[in-house]
């Protein structure tokens, strides 16, 4: 019954005029930016981070969470109305969502995406509330060795889930880890790999890498291919799906929610897998699989629910263990740190108002998305018709102001331009950037835990795989190795490619 009391506390915090307003504003701006083609949640949050600086920690996090859900939902809107997936997780939505739109059921597709997302969000909120306390207790059992092994496992997951070559993803993770060591050493204070540049001794700011490699590099890539945006010209139609469509969607929503919520908890960006898994499952168990790809509503309802459930449960590793499972959560860490909160098991005890207030606001955010987005679809459609030659300079401008405002430092803007070039080179070399970001985010923590573990074990490197004394750590490493081995098996490689091609 603790859970009910805790949630009540949370709703008490979130249900103030100010926090409701911030949640609303966050959802709104998040959708506004997220709708723009080629701007995913990472770039959106990085861009909008500075506007939350002036708020109190609770308000700032509530607003950021709103921005996050808004950006996610904005991506789905773009996927359905234009044939462009805003980001990895809405790739699947494009398949049947856009076909539905072509068949004149755009409204129903948008409607079911919103309804499915809301249901998934509600369930995910309960899952978080229920799991948070027990998982926090588990976290207290973790020593440095367990944390290190958990992060190794998370990174391996990220590698396995990345698109394209596994070995190239490993290279990206290592590169990210290496970049994280730039700057002052935490223990000795020695400047590391700064090439004598004082600007680098604080380390590289995460927002500069994220914005450069995701925001700028993406613009460079888009500029290369001549624009083929076919924004829906026909009417959107009623946003309420008809009875037949509703009936078809019920079980996919339930299954998608379950899958997405479960995968989202995994460290290492399991949430990405949710929509794919849901789509594959729905197609496999459908009576008539040939309908998929031609506008089957199950192919929108399931993946969209999975997407939102995963987006939300991926807060769990962050809030309980203090380990961000993906780049978006890494930005949340950045935001929390700015407000003086170190994410981890202690947050729940020390700042219950913040912890439960944020969880409650997740549900409120989902409700707001449902309420504000449906009537505003018309505006989003107009926004989608803005030509890219005007869109990309504006995105660039917002990015510049955003990065500058993080530290009020023009040097950060230059570094971002540099990472934009690097990101462009990575695209040309066939590298996927997401694993690099995760490596970068976890790098400092990993090194710290590694050094502490080795110190505590008196130089014995077998501490991580010691099944007798450190069973949790050994178990995590075993899973990681198993995953890596499996991903190299030829049969799986083939299957993996088809999943991502589909």
């Amino acid at each position: 019954m603790d859970m009910v009391a805790n949630l009540a506390l949370g709703f008490g915090v979130a249900f103030t005029i100010k926090n409701l307003g911030l949640c609303f504003l966050g959802c709104m701006i998040g959708t506004l930016i997220g709708v723009l083609p080629g701007v995913g949640p990472i770039a959106t949050i990085a861009m909008l981070l500075p506007i939350t600086f002036g708020l109190d920690p609770v308000g700032a996090l509530i607003m950021l969470a709103g921005i996050y859900y808004g950006a996610q939902y904005g991506g789905s809107t773009t996927a359905i109305l234009v044939n462009i997936p805003g980001e990895a997780t809405s790739i699947v939505t494009v398949l049947d969502g856009h076909q539905m739109a072509r068949n004149g059921r755009a409204g129903a597709a948008l409607g079911i995406a919103a309804i499915g997302s809301f249901f998934a969000g509600t369930v995910a909120t309960i899952v978080i509330a229920a799991l948070a306390a027990p998982l926090t207790r588990v976290a207290l059992l973790f020593g440095p060795a367990e944390y290190f092994s958990l992060m190794v496992m998370g990174l391996i997951f990220a590698v396995v889930l990345a698109r394209g070559s596994v070995i190239k993803a490993v290279a990206m993770v290592l590169l990210g880890l290496t970049l994280s060591t730039v700057g002052q050493d935490l223990e000795t204070g020695a400047d590391r790999m700064t090439f004598g540049w004082p600007e680098l001794s604080d380390g590289i700011d995460f927002t500069t890498i994220a914005m450069g490699m995701f925001g700028f590099a993406e613009i460079l890539r888009n500029l290369e291919s001549p624009e083929t945006r076919d924004v829906l010209k026909s009417k959107i139609g009623s946003l309420l799906p008809n009875w037949e469509e509703m009936k078809r969607s019920v079980t996919p929503i339930l299954r998608g929610t379950g899958l997405g919520a479960a995968l989202g908890i995994l460290p290492g960006n399991g949430a990405v897998l949710g929509p794919f898994a849901s789509y594959t499952l729905e197609k496999k168990i459908a009576k008539d699989p040939s309908r998929f790809g031609k506008g089957a509503i199950e192919g929108v309802a399931g993946p969209e629910s999975a997407n939102n459930a995963g987006a939300q449960t991926s807060f769990i590793p962050l809030l309980t263990l203090g380990i961000p499972p993906n780049a978006v959560m890494a930005l949340m860490v950045g935001a929390m740190t700015i407000h003086g909160i170190v994410p981890g098991p202690q947050v729940m005890e020390k700042r219950p108002d913040l912890f439960w207030g944020m969880i409650a606001s997740m549900w409120i955010g989902n409700l707001m998305l449902l309420i504000i987005n449906l009537p505003m679809i018309g505006i989003w459609v107009k926004l989608l018709k803005v030509p890219y030659r005007m869109l990309f300079p504006s995105i660039l401008m917002f990015c510049c102001i955003g990065i500058y405002s993080v530290n009020n430092n023009p040097f950060d803007v230059m570094i971002t331009a540099f990472f934009g070039l690097v990101g462009y080179a990575f695209i040309k070399m066939g590298f996927e950037v997401a694993p690099l970001l995760l490596g970068f985010v976890l790098g400092r923590l990993m090194e710290e835990y590694l050094r502490r573990s080795i110190l505590m074990s008196r130089g014995d490197w077998s501490v991580f795989v010691d099944f007798v004394n450190r069973p949790i750590s050994a178990f995590l490493i075993a899973i990681a190795v198993l995953m890596l081995v499996i991903s190299f098996l030829p049969a799986i490689t083939k299957k993996r490619n088809t999943v991502f091609v589909e």
Partner: protein
């Protein structure tokens, strides 16, 4: 049947079967070497006490090993060619970003022998904004000057209203006029 095709392609490509992977692998090896060199002055610690240099150096070796595997793959498995790089996009987009960075608060260079020299005075968002937007627009092949100018003026005004007036971020708008 399929194997035959692959071998034909492989023959015409000579030693390197996947130029893209070859390039990628060599890049990773080079990066590893650079890190090894950059961390060579750091202490590796002793026994149980890992020093500041241990982690970066360990990563450098791993990077070089992984780079080696990618290169090996490039020599054995047929893969895509290296795509052509476009010049226009990177030059104008990243150029616009650099212009923003250099004009928003001015640029001061520290030239050895001469000392600190002001390259550009602080110009603020009111100048940096339109400059950034216009230069960025050059990256697109479509051109409409009137539209570009009107658009950059409106966009700059919008940014000033949003970030400076509404959100009160401490971004300089017109520092020469004290705003």
């Amino acid at each position: 049947m399929q194997d035959e095709n692959v071998s034909v392609v492989a023959e015409t490509r000579g030693l390197v079967k996947s130029p893209q992977d070859m390039f990628a692998g060599l890049f990773i090896i080079a990066f590893g070497l650079a890190c090894l060199w950059a961390s060579s002055n750091l202490s590796g610690g002793r026994g149980a006490n890992l020093g500041p240099g241990s982690f970066p150096r360990g990563l450098s070796f791993l990077l070089m090993a992984v780079g080696g595997i990618i290169v090996f793959q490039a020599l054995t498995v047929v893969g895509p060619r290296l795509e052509a790089w476009s010049i226009r996009g990177p030059v104008f987009v990243l150029g616009a970003v650099l212009i923003f960075a250099m004009t928003i608060r001015g640029t001061t260079l520290n030239i050895p022998g001469i000392g600190r020299t002001d390259l550009l005075p602080p110009l603020g968002l009111i100048v940096a904004g339109p400059l950034t937007l216009i230069v960025a627009s050059l990256a697109s092949t479509e051109r409409n000057w009137t539209q570009t100018f009107i658009f950059s003026a409106c966009m700059t005004a919008f940014c000033i209203l949003l970030f400076k007036v509404a959100l009160r971020l401490p971004i300089p708008v017109a520092p020469w006029a004290g705003w």
